[in-house]
């Protein structure tokens, strides 16, 4: 059964992948990319990686698609036929692929419980998490505590992307809070969007604070939080969205999240521990861990949400009435 589901999903991924290479309409390719990402999210669920699936669905299928759509709207819709065909890329790809397949031959079998990855390091995470960290979701405990420093690096990466987009595209504050030209036609969408907006934010908070117990955490929450505002900007116009959450504030928030995360790490040092040591944050280690994880996840969420909105505003404010570029009408 497991293999059957795997094969079907992998087959669908292959079909989508080949279609992406072949098709020349970039809009269609964008939608296919989104589908590719959704299929892989499904595959992640089947492979027990629920946290990853949630992230892939939110980031890969959600935000990346929006960015791609915005870019396609600002550039060309059709890809030109290459003027010359060269065999070199095909050769490089074939060689790389052959090398990888050669490498698989000595790999442990798929799902083999005796593979080295399941014997060393990882079992201890599962065994020790309940007593050392005290949260049921092992992914959260590894992400936020055992390998918390990687996560700090990851927040820094997304912060870098935010600064980069800020420098490259800029976020220009709109003086006019103009309404989209076809504002009256969006009544249905606006009503529904207003209905969903608070629920999306609520869901984001649920994902943030429930990350210890189920799939979720700072990243996913940040992305969901940002999509709420993206929905608002789509239906109510960019000007109004920027009145709700001014771009100047976004830069500060993006920095604040990273600072909150590092502050937790430095606090650990000040209290006589190592950098990012949460045990010293409270009287007993486990509540210290809880506090540390909660704080850093919040920091992650703030930065991710702010950066995604910076990126979104950067792309859509690139031409007058930018938000209309992706308006459904």
């Amino acid at each position: 059964m497991q293999h059957l589901v795997d094969i079907v999903l992998l087959g669908l991924l292959m079909i989508t992948g080949f279609a992406i290479v072949r098709m020349r309409s970039l809009l269609a390719v964008t939608m296919l990319t989104s589908i590719y990402s959704l299929f892989s999210a499904l595959l992640f669920v089947v492979l027990d990686a629920v946290d990853v699936a949630l992230t892939e669905a939110a980031i890969g299928a959600g935000i990346s698609t929006i960015l791609l759509l915005a870019t396609v709207a600002l550039t060309t819709e059709y890809e030109k036929v290459p003027s010359h065909r060269s065999l070199l890329p095909l050769l490089v790809v074939t060689l790389t692929g052959a090398a990888l397949i050669y490498g698989t031959l000595d790999m442990p079998h798929y799902g083999d419980p005796n593979a080295p990855v399941h014997r060393h390091v990882a079992p201890d995470y599962i065994e020790d998490t309940p007593e050392e960290i005290g949260v049921p979701n092992v992914v959260t405990s590894v992400l936020a505590s055992y390998r918390g420093y990687d996560t700090l690096g990851e927040v820094t990466v997304i912060f870098t992307a935010g600064v980069g987009v800020l420098a490259l595209l800029g976020v220009h504050l709109r003086k006019r809070t103009e309404q989209p030209s076809d504002y009256h036609k969006l009544v249905v969408l606006r009503v529904i969007a207003k209905l969903f907006f608070p629920l999306i934010l609520l869901f984001a908070l649920y994902v943030l604070f429930h990350g210890d117990y189920g799939p979720g955490g700072g990243f996913q929450a940040g992305v969901i939080f940002a999509t709420g505002f993206v929905l608002y900007a789509l239906t109510h116009g960019l000007g109004n969205a920027e009145r709700v959450i001014p771009p100047a504030l976004l830069g500060i928030l993006a920095a604040a999240g990273v600072l909150l995360y590092s502050a937790v790490g430095i606090e650990g040092m000040l209290l006589g521990g190592k950098f990012l040591e949460y045990n010293v944050l409270a009287d007993d280690p486990v509540s210290g861990q809880h506090l540390g994880i909660l704080l850093i996840e919040t920091g992650v969420g703030i930065t991710v949400a702010a950066v995604i909105l910076i990126i979104y505003f950067g792309f859509v404010s690139r031409r007058p009435g930018g938000a209309d570029a992706q308006d459904p009408s």
């Binding site: 249905v188 969408l189 529904i192 459904p328 009408s329």
Partner: protein, 106 residues
């Protein structure tokens, strides 16, 4: 006894839902123009996915899972028609006319 009955009922719902979803997919492929295809998608999807969710709720019993499924159902009831509405509106605004005679392939 009740368990088996619920199980059978939920499977009927699941399979029925799947059937509707499949019908919708065939409709998208076979119908002549954009609007009728949209029609196939929206009607079958709402019903099919609703039935699947209901079937899953019966499987879940009275647990937190069922509550979450109900929330998904609520979300879908609103978002499905809205999305289709937005699509149809976008098509109309960009000047796509419905095909009235199905022999002229749109």
């Amino acid at each position: 006894m009740l368990d088996i009955l619920l199980d059978i009922l939920s499977w009927i719902l699941l399979l029925g839902g799947a059937l509707f979803l499949l019908t919708g997919a065939i409709g998208v492929l076979r119908f002549p123009d954009f609007y009728s295809r949209l029609h196939a998608v929206s009607v079958c999807d709402t019903l099919g996915a609703g039935m699947v969710l209901l079937g899953l709720m019966l499987q879940g019993g009275l647990t937190l899972v069922t509550v979450k499924l109900m929330l998904i159902f609520y979300f879908m009831v609103f978002s499905g028609p809205t999305a289709v509405h937005a699509l149809a509106e976008a098509a109309q605004v960009s000047g796509l006319d419905p095909v009235e005679d199905d022999r002229e392939d749109g």
